[in-house]
């Protein structure tokens, strides 16, 4: 059978964001896949070297669009590690709340994308409009819908507005009830099990070897989560479990995200109940001349896509000397796709990509 080349190009309905995969197909079975990123490249690392430390605070959250807060938390933690300061307890709790809400919103986005790619079009309408209630909460807390520019080196920029805790709890109760509606139409649906089971299997050994991280790794049976292994913000003081599944296929990768949404709701409720009082920001240098002592630090955060790390080098001046952004999709989007797509049908290509939650801006930066 003659093989032919097919561009699942930057302009395609089944692509998460702006990303292109060049497939070599025989009939409709994929023989070879070469991802071609770079369409969302803005040269963040170059821009951050030309801007002061505080000028970078609004630019970092633009890197990964569905899940912007891990960037802000990473950048703030990297600067705090170099300055040698710790945010006050109340700021840590507020950061945890913001990070967990961002995780739920990003998981809901992934459910919508994956369900859309296998034809269940009611689910994107439900999950993306439910995600909008979380965006309204963010708008109330930070003033911005998608980009919050809220986590500031040393703490957070504003305190919880009054009435926020009650409204947040209502949204959480509403989301919990909605999960049962999703069950009926998506998680327990016959079509989802038939389409997603046994597709794109990553076994445990390959997962570690290929550098898979985050929910995709826990779906392959490895119990590893930065919130437990290397606790940051207020995760050390909250108790929650890390769900682990062993199937390693697209079905388990989506189900593990569903379990994580349930865990995140539990975390936020705990954080909202026993949030301590006190200041929301540590004393930091003047924003106009923000000098950081020389040194380098690697910090990482558990984003909804995987291990999200910043390696920051400072040479004692008011601009970061070098910031490297280790996006979780660096391995999921390039290397894992090259290994996983061959042998599958063309129809499953975008489904595998959504189940891996590939976020192209993280690859291109």
């Amino acid at each position: 059978m003659k093989t032919y080349e097919l561009f699942i190009g930057p302009q395609h309905v089944g692509i998460t964001g702006n990303f292109s995969v060049i497939l070599e197909l025989e009939g409709n079975v994929v023989k070879k896949a070469t991802p071609n990123p770079g369409f969302l490249h803005r040269g963040f690392e170059k821009l951050m070297e030309m801007r002061g430390f505080i000028h970078n605070v609004p630019i970092v959250c633009r890197i990964c669009v569905p899940d912007p807060d891990p960037n802000e938390a990473n950048y703030a933690m990297a600067v705090e590690k170099l300055l040698g300061i710790e945010p006050p307890p109340r700021a840590k709790y507020i950061r945890t709340i913001v990070l967990e809400f961002s995780r739920i919103a990003s998981h809901l986005f992934t459910f919508g994308g994956h369900a859309g790619s296998i034809g269940l079009y009611t689910i994107p309408n439900w999950t993306i409009s439910d995600r909008d209630f979380i965006l309204d909460l963010f708008e109330m807390l930070t003033g911005g819908r998608v980009y919050h520019i809220f986590i500031y080196p040393g703490g957070v920029r504003r305190d919880l507005p009054d009435g926020f805790i009650e409204k947040a709890k209502d949204v959480l109760n509403y989301l919990e009830k909605r999960l049962d509606d999703y069950n009926k139409l998506y998680f327990d649906s016959y079509m989802f099990k038939k389409r997603a089971r046994g597709i794109g299997i990553i076994n445990k050994e390959d997962a570690i070897e290929w550098g898979v991280t985050g929910p995709n790794l826990r779906a392959s049976g490895v119990k590893a989560d930065t919130r437990k292994d290397d606790p940051y913000a207020a995760y050390g003081e909250l108790d929650f479990e890390i769900p682990v599944l062993t199937g390693g296929d697209a079905y388990d990768r989506i189900m593990i995200r569903r379990m994580e949404v349930v865990e995140s709701i539990k975390i936020i409720r705990q954080a909202l109940d026993n949030i301590p009082d006190g200041p929301i920001r540590e004393k930091v240098p003047n924003p106009m001349r923000f000098i950081v002592p020389p040194g380098d630090a690697y910090v990482k955060v558990e984003s909804s896509k995987g291990e999200y790390g910043y390696y920051m080098v400072s040479n004692g001046k008011d601009k970061p000397y070098r910031v490297y952004i280790r996006g979780a999709s660096m391995t999921h989007g390039i290397h894992i796709l090259e290994k996983l797509l061959p042998g599958n049908y063309l129809a499953d290509v975008s489904q595998i990509m959504f189940s891996l939650d590939v976020c192209p801006p993280e690859i291109d930066r």
């Binding site: 500031y152 509606d181 327990d188």
Partner: protein, 157 residues
């Protein structure tokens, strides 16, 4: 797979009787939140022209221009030797609505409103001098308070 979950999607019919989630936007207005980061409002009298906002602005969107460029003070008489006060002119082709300028303004004169809709066909209409004679001047959104101010100053009542 069992008949039960074959027919489970039927349960979605209950939403036919429920109130729709949709916000019919142009007819029903969606209220932005209390501290929404919208367009700028600047009290030109209170502004001391220090340029903090222009220096902190990450996308380099704010330019300090002499006060006489604003029509209301165009024919303001200027004593010789005395510098004309400079006020911020904001280019919404660059602004990222991060409100860092509001949080470093020592005189608390710069605020953000809750207004967020501006649709134009020519680009030059997006550059304007922040003032408080705009129609939405009382619709205040993101205003710096004691906790959020990055220089640790307190607003004078």
């Amino acid at each position: 797979m069992g008949i039960k979950n074959y027919f489970s999607p039927v349960s979605a019919l209950k939403f036919l009787v429920k109130k729709p989630v949709t916000v019919r936007v142009p007819y029903e207005k969606k209220e932005p939140s209390e501290n929404y980061r919208g367009f700028h409002i600047n009290d030109i009298e209170k502004c001391i022209g220090c340029g903090n906002c222009a220096r902190i602005c990450p996308p380099n969107a704010i330019e300090m221009v002499p006060m006489t460029e604003y029509p209301k003070y165009k024919d303001m008489k200027v004593e010789e030797g005395k510098r004309i006060k400079k006020i911020p002119k904001i280019d919404y082709g660059r602004c990222c609505f991060c409100a860092l300028c509001v949080d470093v303004c020592p005189s608390f004169s710069l605020k953000l409103s809750r207004e967020r809709i501006q649709v134009e066909t020519d680009k030059e209409a997006f550059v304007f001098i922040a003032n408080n004679d705009v129609s939405y001047k009382d619709n205040l959104g993101y205003v710096a308070n004691e906790k959020s101010h990055l220089l640790g100053l307190k607003p004078k009542r």
